[in-house]
């Protein structure tokens, strides 16, 4: 076999998966090099061996959960409760905004403008310092309230986009069969809309989980708060924050996989 021309080899490589792998390896090398370089500049003393104890320790032959895992648990709990509330609120607001009721539309507009045009941090403070005492709710609940109000507005816009993207013939068919508006939504419109808005909804869920890190500002013991405490106690700043970043990243992977699975599972033949 004749030796391949260099350009041919290059073109084959360019089209093969090896190109992606090479890119990835290159990226890792650059990142490691940058981190090493900067920590050398700072004279940073890496002490990774001190990190595992913050996941768990064994005391008297029994495993004890460390601060980071506790924080992770808190973050997941906060995320899950806020997600359910935000999805519900988002759907209700979207339906109100699309309804024929003037009050419903006005109310949802005002809510959207307020929550989308103020920073989440401000909303968390307001919920914690103002709404919390007024409503007599605790720290966790006020955090859920802030996250729900904030994310609910984005979710509602996603729902609205999904609903209005459907051809109006679907509404007309449902109506002409005598279905009520509620039944039309339930059996015809929403099942199709939800399939379409799964990708943007997934990225909003990721956004919500990341935003839970802001509740550490009002001293809630979530993952970020725990990291801050550990870093302050031990000066393991780099190690702790790299670890925490990795944990957040790891939460998102199963989420993305689930979303992809759902998308395929419920795909509509076209």
């Amino acid at each position: 076999m004749a030796p391949l021309a260099p350009t041919t080899v290059l073109r084959r490589f360019w089209r093969s998966p090896w190109r992606d792998i090479a890119q990835f390896v290159l990226l890792i090398v650059v990142v490691v090099w940058l981190v090493t370089l900067s920590s050398a500049r700072l004279g940073y003393n890496w002490q990774w061996y001190r990190i595992p104890r913050y996941f768990w320790t064994v005391r008297n032959g029994r495993p004890v959960v460390g601060e980071l895992l506790q924080g992770l648990g808190y973050t997941l709990q906060l995320s899950a409760v806020s997600l359910v509330c935000a999805l519900t609120l988002g759907l209700v607001v979207a339906l109100l905004r699309l309804s024929s009721s003037f009050m419903g539309r006005a109310l949802s507009r005002v809510y959207l403008e307020i929550t989308r045009n103020t920073p989440l941090v401000v909303q968390i403070y307001l919920a914690y310092f103002v709404l919390g005492p007024v409503l007599g709710i605790g720290r966790f609940s006020s955090a859920v309230l802030a996250l729900t109000l904030f994310e609910g507005s984005y979710m509602s816009e996603i729902f609205r986009a999904g609903i209005t993207s459907l051809h109006r013939g679907q509404w007309e068919a449902a109506y002409s069969l005598g279905l009520s508006t509620l039944d039309s939504y339930r059996f015809v419109i929403l099942p199709q809309a939800v399939r379409r808005l799964l990708p943007p909804l997934t990225s909003e869920v990721v956004s919500l989980i990341k935003n839970t890190s802001l509740v550490s500002l009002v001293s809630l013991a979530d993952l970020s708060m725990q990291a801050r405490v550990i870093a302050a106690d031990t000066f393991l700043t780099f190690e702790v924050w790299f670890t925490v970043a990795l944990i957040y990243l790891l939460i998102m992977v199963p989420l993305a996989i689930t979303a992809r699975w759902l998308e395929r599972r419920y795909a509509i033949a076209t």
């Binding site: 068919a173 109506y175 002409s176 069969l177 005598g178 279905l179 015809v188 099942p191 509509i268």
Partner: protein, 262 residues
């Protein structure tokens, strides 16, 4: 030859005294959209078991009129009474009229996420509160009637246009409507599929269904219609039996329309 029903505008008091034979009463209906007056004073009475074909050039308001009849569009003024129920602001009336009238669209509008059987079962189960068994039995019967019982578990996307439209007809029939409205049911179909849909519609007409059909299919109109209405610019130009309409039209406008399409 049966005498033609009077289509002259009537005062509402006359409408109340209408013979029970008129299942659909349309009086002086107006409907405009921003910049367009789509329907301008349309009146007609349709008897039980009558098949009325509405023809007209595009933009003549025939589809808008049809959509006013089951409240998909709300008429600006005028009177529409379906089997004794007035189509007015009362939501219950609107819902009831929609349950009593079936509609078939140009673009089928099947629900793509449901199978053929689920498409047909949905309204009987949700609106008429039939059990799934009961609904399915009736749906399968209807699918047999339109000749695609073997496609019950397929999704709409896997059906041809003609098959989809036949499913849409079966879906509308599943509610046992008293009137069927057809909005250009064959316009979106490939030529070789038009007849399979028209055949189903002819069967339906022969079985005594009251039908209002907006279509350009001359053959269908000639063969099945009891009455043909020609619309232009939102109102009626001429109305007549297929015989007089096609062979001896009164109006010059009708002659021009026929010469353009024949």
């Amino acid at each position: 030859m049966p005498s033609l029903p009077d289509i002259a505008p009537l005062a509402p008091s006359d409408a109340a005294a209408a013979p029970a034979d008129d299942i659909l009463i349309i009086e002086d209906v107006f409907k405009s959209f921003p910049g367009v007056e789509a329907v301008r004073g349309f009146s007609a009475r349709i008897r039980r078991q009558e098949v009325v074909v509405i023809m007209g050039p595009s933009g003549s308001g025939k589809s808008t009129l049809l959509r006013c009849l089951n409240g998909l569009e709300q008429a600006d003024s005028g009177l529409i009474i379906v089997d004794g129920i007035p189509l007015d602001d009362n939501h219950a009336h609107r819902l009831e009229i929609r349950q009593e009238t079936g509609m078939v669209f140009q673009s089928f509008n099947l629900f793509p996420h449901l199978t053929v059987l689920e498409n047909i079962n949905l309204a009987p189960m949700r609106v008429r509160h039939k059990s799934e068994q009961e609904a399915t039995a009736r749906s399968m019967e209807l699918l047999g009637m339109v000749g695609i019982a073997d496609k019950a578990s397929s999704y709409p996307a896997h059906l041809s246009g003609g098959q989809q439209q036949r499913v849409a007809i079966a879906r509308a029939l599943a509610m046992s409507p008293k009137i069927m409205l057809f909005d250009e049911p064959t316009s979106a179909l490939d030529p070789e599929m038009i007849n399979e849909v028209l055949d189903v519609m002819k069967d339906l007409a022969r079985a005594g269904m009251t039908m209002v059909v907006v279509t350009h299919e001359m053959g269908f109109a000639r063969e099945v219609a009891d009455r043909i209405i020609l619309m232009d610019s939102g109102s009626i130009v001429e109305t007549g039996t297929p015989d007089t309409f096609f062979t001896n039209p009164r109006e010059e406008r009708t002659r021009r329309f026929l010469s353009q399409i024949l």
